[in-house]
Amino acid sequence: MNVPDELQYAATHEWLRLDGATGTVGITDHAQAELTDVVYVELPKVGAQVNAGQQICVVESVKAASDIYSPVSGTVTAVNDALTASPALLNTDPFGEGWIFQIKIEAGEDIEHLKSAAQYREQIGGADAGGEV
């Protein structure tokens, strides 16, 4: 499983790429593998305000609908419209073309609750053998 070192991770399998006060969010390689083929992404609305840990959008695989949670509090500034036509980008390039939304992080937001790559690897440890879904 690919777990890029430069990203932050939520226990609910979202990643966050920090760029100053803005963050880009997607789901991890582990998450896309567990979800199976993604066939529909219900994107968040630009301008939506969310709290860390709050459900923000839905990703649907052939198998099931899964809630996606915002790893941080803030305001959604952009969404990846390409996912509407090509939801499978979440499977093929979860850390790149498959990003889901960008968020302006709330001033003073504490991201200490997020995991480092090493901590997230530990969380999904052994999952390569096929974790429960």
């Binding site: 199976t36 083929d37 066939v39 529909y40 219900e42 839905v58 649907e60 695989s61 052939v62 198998k63 099931a64 609908a65 096929g130 429960e132 879904v133």
Partner: protein, 349 residues
Amino acid sequence: MVDFGGWSMPVQYSGIIAEHHAVRGNLGVFDISHMGQFFAEGAGAAAWLNRLLTNNLDRLSVGECQYTFLLNNDGGVIDDLIVYRIADARYLLVVNASKIDEDFAWMQAHLDPGVQFENHSEHYAGFAVQGPKSAQLFDAFFSGQYSRPARNEILAIEIDGENYYIARTGYTGEDGFEVFCPAGRAVKSWNDILGKGAAFAIKPCGLGARDTLRLEMCYPLNGSDLGADTTPIEAGLGIFVDLQKTDFIGRQKLADQKEQGVKRRLVPFKMTGASPPPRSHYAVFKGGEKIAETTSGSLSPTLKAGIGMAYIPTEFARINEQIEIEIRGQRFPATIEKKPLHRPNTATN
């Protein structure tokens, strides 16, 4: 891996969509070892089974099978199953994994003296080879030695001193075979199928593809589309019910429904435009009123559209009727379709 009727089973091996297309266009194999196997034997076995099952066993010659229902006293479905006549007075019943105990207890409670009825579910493994190249794989195994059983026929053979049953049946709509072998031969059989199947690019397939394939065919899944409070008539499966038989458990309710009509019917639908895939237990609307709940739903990899099934009030249960499916508070248009939603072009030969 997920729990399925007490078995830990893979949802997918390489990907649900790839596995689905492998079966529609080429060849796939499913592990169906979870399914249950009962044997009924004796001079009175056929008469006894005819009083418990909806279809008519008198129509079966040795080596043939039929799809049928086991009903409760109210005509509700306990299970849907296939019964194979494997010898003159010996029958094999293949039942759903989650219903093995309930089916067996019910049937034993109604057992006729002189019929030997046994549950051998733990002793058998099973594999479903499905797809247009199934016949070629059969020939690769048995060319010259055995001829292929015809559709809905079963072949009993011996391999290395063990009994194998090979039936021309399946749950995908494609040509294919279901193989039942002693549990001790499970791993070897699976590996042999994958080994010989490699020449045909066979793919191992999981529960995910099994569900999308059967749903495109509108084959019901017991526990979702069938249950104790639904009858085969409501499910639109009356052709597997022989009301000419004067006595079988649940008959009265079915005869009444046949005569008076049903209030609701299980029908397939397809989402009309772009929408999230429908799932089971979504509300179905017509003219602003909630009229039903979906019993199954998924994205159809073949049709590339959301599909599902629901028990719709009879007045609306018509082909081309427009309905709406509520998904996370928003209603999306759908159309009631003809069964099956997809018609495979595989010819069984």
